[in-house]
C-alpha cells in the first residue's frame, strides 16, 4: 500500500510515540494493580524494583470474603443471561427480520426504547416489581430485567436481514419448518455476531454493579462486583495491596478470556458489519 504521505518519516515516528504513550497510560492502572498485589503493603507507594514479592495478599483477600461463592454466583448469572438472551433475542429478531405482520414496525420501535432506557435507570420500579414477585435476593432476580435485550434483538435482526433469502428458500424446499429454518440457516450464518455479542454480554454482566447491589443481600446471591465493593469498604481504611489482589482475582478470568479470544473478538466484530 503506497500512499502519498505529506508528513513522512518524522510524522510516523511522532505517531508511533503518541500511540505508545497512550497505550502505556491506558495500562497504568492495571500495571499498578499487579505491582501492588504482589508486593507487601509497605511498597504501595514506593516503587522499589527490588521489593520482595509475595502471594500473601491474594491469600488474605481470598480468605477475607467468600470469593469462591461470589465466583460461582457470577458464573451462573452470566451463563444464564447468555443462554436466555440468545434464545429470546434470536426468536424475536427472526420475527422482526423475516415476518410481515401488523404492528411489526411499531413493536420494533417500542423494543428500541430499551436501547436508551437501560433497566438500571428504572432501579426503583424494577425493585418493586421483583419484590412483588417475591424474588428479592435471588440469582434470577438479578438476571430478569436483562433477559430480553433490545441491543441483541437489533443486532440479530440486522444480521438476519443481511442473509440472502435463497438460503431460506432452499431449506424450505427441503421441508424445513419455520423453527427449523431458523436453526439450520440463520443461526449458523450468524455465528460471528453471536460470538461478538456474547463476549460483550459476558463482559457487561460480569462487571455489572448497581442493579445487583440493590437486589442482592446475601452471600449466596451476591456477584463478584458487589462482593468486591463490600469487601473494599472496610471501616479500618483502605489496604491497597489486598484490594488490588482482590481486584485481580475478580477481573482475572475476564482478562484472560480476552487475551485468549481477542483475535476472534475483533474479527467477529469486523464481520458483523456494524455500520
Amino acid at each position: 500500500m503506497s500512499m502519498v504521505d505529506n508528513k513522512g518519516l518524522a510524522g510516523e515516528v511522532v505517531e508511533t510515540i503518541a500511540a505508545w504513550m497512550l497505550g502505556l497510560l491506558w495500562m497504568l492502572p492495571l500495571l499498578f494493580a499487579i505491582w501492588t498485589a504482589i508486593h507487601p503493603s509497605a511498597y504501595v507507594a514506593k516503587f522499589d524494583l527490588l521489593a520482595p514479592i509475595t502471594a500473601q495478599n491474594f491469600v488474605t483477600a481470598w480468605e477475607a470474603a467468600p470469593f469462591a461463592r461470589y465466583f460461582l454466583n457470577t458464573m451462573l448469572l452470566v451463563t444464564g443471561i447468555l443462554l436466555a438472551q440468545f434464545v429470546l433475542c434470536t426468536l424475536a429478531a427472526f420475527a422482526f427480520a423475516r415476518f410481515e405482520f401488523k404492528g411489526r414496525d411499531t413493536l420494533f420501535m417500542l423494543v428500541l426504547v430499551q436501547l436508551m432506557v437501560a433497566p438500571d435507570v428504572l432501579l426503583l420500579e424494577n425493585y418493586i416489581t421483583i419484590r412483588q414477585l417475591g424474588l428479592v435476593d435471588t440469582l434470577p432476580a438479578i438476571a430478569l430485567p436483562y433477559l430480553a435485550s433490545a441491543f441483541g434483538i437489533f443486532l440479530l435482526r440486522q444480521t438476519f436481514k443481511a442473509i440472502p433469502k435463497d438460503f431460506e428458500e432452499a431449506a424450505r424446499v427441503e421441508g424445513c419448518s419455520t423453527l427449523g429454518v431458523l436453526w439450520r440457516v440463520y443461526v449458523p450464518l450468524g455465528k460471528p455476531i453471536y460470538l461478538a455479542y456474547g463476549l460483550v454480554l459476558v463482559s457487561f454482566h460480569w462487571n455489572n454493579f448497581l442493579w445487583p447491589l440493590i437486589i442482592t443481600n446475601s452471600v449466596t446471591t451476591r456477584p463478584l462486583t458487589v462482593g468486591l465493593a463490600i469487601f473494599a469498604s472496610v471501616d479500618q481504611g483502605i489496604d491497597w495491596s489486598i484490594i488490588c489482589a482482590a481486584t485481580l482475582m475478580t477481573s482475572g478470568p475476564l482478562l484472560i478470556a480476552f487475551l485468549l479470544f481477542q483475535r476472534q473478538f475483533v474479527q467477529s466484530f469486523m464481520q458483523t458489519g456494524i455500520k
Binding site: 443481600n217 471501616d235 481504611g237
Partner: protein
C-alpha cells in the same frame, strides 16, 4: 432464627463461631447469621424483609438507626423481655454513652454490641524528630494545633512531606466532627431526635477551627481528607497525628514501623467524642417465643466475657465495665495499654447524630460541612442553611 449482621471480612467467622457456640448450649434454637454488607445495606435488607413478610428475629444495625426503626414500627423494646432481677442488672451494665441512642421515651430498644469511638493516633518517631515529648499526646485542641505546627515539614520544592495532623472529612463528616463539637461544649441534637442545633455558635466555632487547621495554620491538607486513605497516610509517615476509629488499632499496631501513641480526642474546651457502631435490636411481628429466644441470644452475646473477647479480636470497644474486668481483657490491656484509651474516653462520649429521618438530616449536615471544608462556603451561612433544612425535615416529628 436468622439474623442480619453488618460485618464483613474475617470478622464473619467470629460471628459464625458464636452462633455455633450458642446453638450447642441451647439445642432447639438455630441461629443463621446473614452478612448483607455494610450498615447501609443491612438495614435496607432488614426493612425490605419486613415489608415482604420475612421478618428477622434480631439484627445488628447502626445505633443511629434507632428512629428509623421505631418510626417504621419495626422493633420492640427490650424491657418487654426483662423478667428477672439478673436481667435488669444486665441491662444496666452497659456504658451510659452507648445507651444514649438506644433509649427512647424511657424504653430501651437496643443493646450495644459492636461499638466504637474515634481516638487520636500519634507517631512517636515524628514527635521525637520535632523535639516533642514522644510519650505525651496533645491534651487540648490548642496544644494539638501547636504541636502540629512543629510537626509539619516541607521539602526543598515547597511540597509538604509530613502534615502535622489529619482529621478525615469525607463521607460521614459529622461523625468525627461530633468529636470537635462535643469538645467545644455543643450538642447537635436532643434525646427525642426531633431538634438539631447546626447553627449553634459553638458548632460554627468548631468547624471554623477545623477549617483553619488547613487554611490558617497550614498543618492539615486542604480540601476533603479521605477517611479510607488516612490510616495508610499515617503509616507512610505523611501525617504525624490522625483522628480515626479505635477499630483501626489492630491495623496500625500490625503495620506501623514506628512507635505510636493513642490519646483522647483533644477538645477546644473539654474532652468529647462520638460513639459509633451497631446494636442488637429485636423485631416486631415475630412470634413471642422467637423473640424470647432472640433475647436469650442477645444476653449470651453480650456477657462480659464475650464482650471482652469480641473487643480483643475486632478492636471494637467492649460495651461494659465488667468486660474490662475480665482476666482476658486485663491481660490484653496490660500488654497493649493503647486499647484502654477508647474505653476511658467513654466518660466524655455522646451518641453520634441520631434523629428522625437520620439519613436525610445527616446528609444535609454533611453537605454543609463538606462545603465549608472545601472552602466553597463560609461556615456561618452554610450551617444556617443546614439548620433551616434540618428543621424543615424534622417538622413533622415535633
Amino acid at each position: 432464627m436468622y439474623f442480619p449482621v453488618a460485618v464483613g471480612g474475617p470478622v464473619t467467622k467470629i460471628i459464625d463461631d458464636y452462633a455455633a457456640g450458642f446453638e450447642k448450649e441451647n439445642p432447639g434454637i438455630k441461629i443463621k447469621p446473614i452478612y448483607a454488607g455494610d450498615y447501609q445495606q443491612t438495614v435496607a435488607k432488614v426493612l425490605t424483609a419486613i415489608k415482604g413478610g420475612d421478618i428477622p428475629e434480631t439484627a445488628i444495625l447502626l445505633a443511629a438507626d434507632l428512629f428509623l426503626l421505631t418510626d417504621e414500627d419495626a422493633v420492640v423494646p427490650m424491657d418487654d423481655f426483662v423478667k428477672t432481677a439478673d436481667d435488669t442488672a444486665w441491662m444496666n451494665t452497659f456504658y451510659p454513652a452507648f445507651m444514649e441512642n438506644a433509649k427512647l421515651k424511657g424504653k430501651t430498644y437496643a443493646i450495644p454490641f459492636q461499638r466504637s469511638t474515634p481516638v487520636l493516633y500519634w507517631n512517636k518517631d515524628a514527635f521525637k524528630a520535632a523535639g516533642l515529648n514522644p510519650e505525651k499526646g496533645p491534651a487540648t485542641w490548642a496544644e494539638m494545633r501547636d504541636m502540629a505546627k512543629k510537626l509539619t515539614k516541607k521539602d526543598a520544592s515547597g511540597a509538604t512531606t509530613q502534615w502535622g495532623v489529619q482529621i478525615p472529612s469525607d463521607g460521614n463528616t459529622a461523625w468525627l466532627f461530633t468529636g470537635i463539637t462535643t469538645g467545644a461544649g455543643a450538642r447537635l441534637t436532643n434525646a427525642d431526635g426531633n431538634k438539631v442545633a447546626f447553627d449553634d455558635p459553638k458548632v460554627i466555632e468548631s468547624v471554623q477551627s477545623w477549617y483553619n487547621l488547613s487554611k490558617v495554620d497550614g498543618v492539615q491538607p486542604s480540601g476533603l481528607i479521605s477517611w479510607g486513605a488516612t490510616p495508610r497516610d499515617f503509616l507512610e509517615g505523611k501525617a504525624a497525628m490522625i483522628w480515626h476509629t479505635t477499630g483501626n488499632l489492630t491495623n496500625i499496631k500490625t503495620n506501623a514501623k514506628f512507635g505510636f501513641g493513642v490519646s483522647y480526642l483533644p477538645g477546644i474546651r473539654q474532652n468529647g467524642a462520638p460513639t459509633g457502631g451497631g446494636n442488637f435490636y429485636i423485631f416486631k411481628g415475630v412470634p413471642k417465643v422467637k423473640q424470647e429466644a432472640a433475647f436469650k441470644f442477645i444476653k449470651w452475646m453480650t456477657t462480659p466475657a464475650r464482650a471482652a473477647e469480641w473487643s480483643v479480636k475486632t478492636g471494637y470497644v467492649a460495651t461494659s465495665a465488667a468486660a474490662y474486668d475480665t482476666p482476658e481483657m486485663k491481660a490484653y490491656t496490660a500488654s497493649f495499654p493503647q486499647a484502654i484509651v477508647a474505653r476511658d474516653q467513654l466518660k466524655f462520649a455522646v451518641s453520634e447524630l441520631t434523629t428522625h429521618e437520620n439519613q436525610r438530616v445527616s446528609k444535609v449536615f454533611n453537605d454543609a460541612l463538606q462545603a465549608i471544608m472545601t472552602g466553597s462556603r463560609p461556615a456561618e451561612a452554610a450551617l444556617k442553611d443546614a439548620q433551616r433544612e434540618g428543621e424543615r425535615i424534622l417538622k413533622d416529628f415535633k
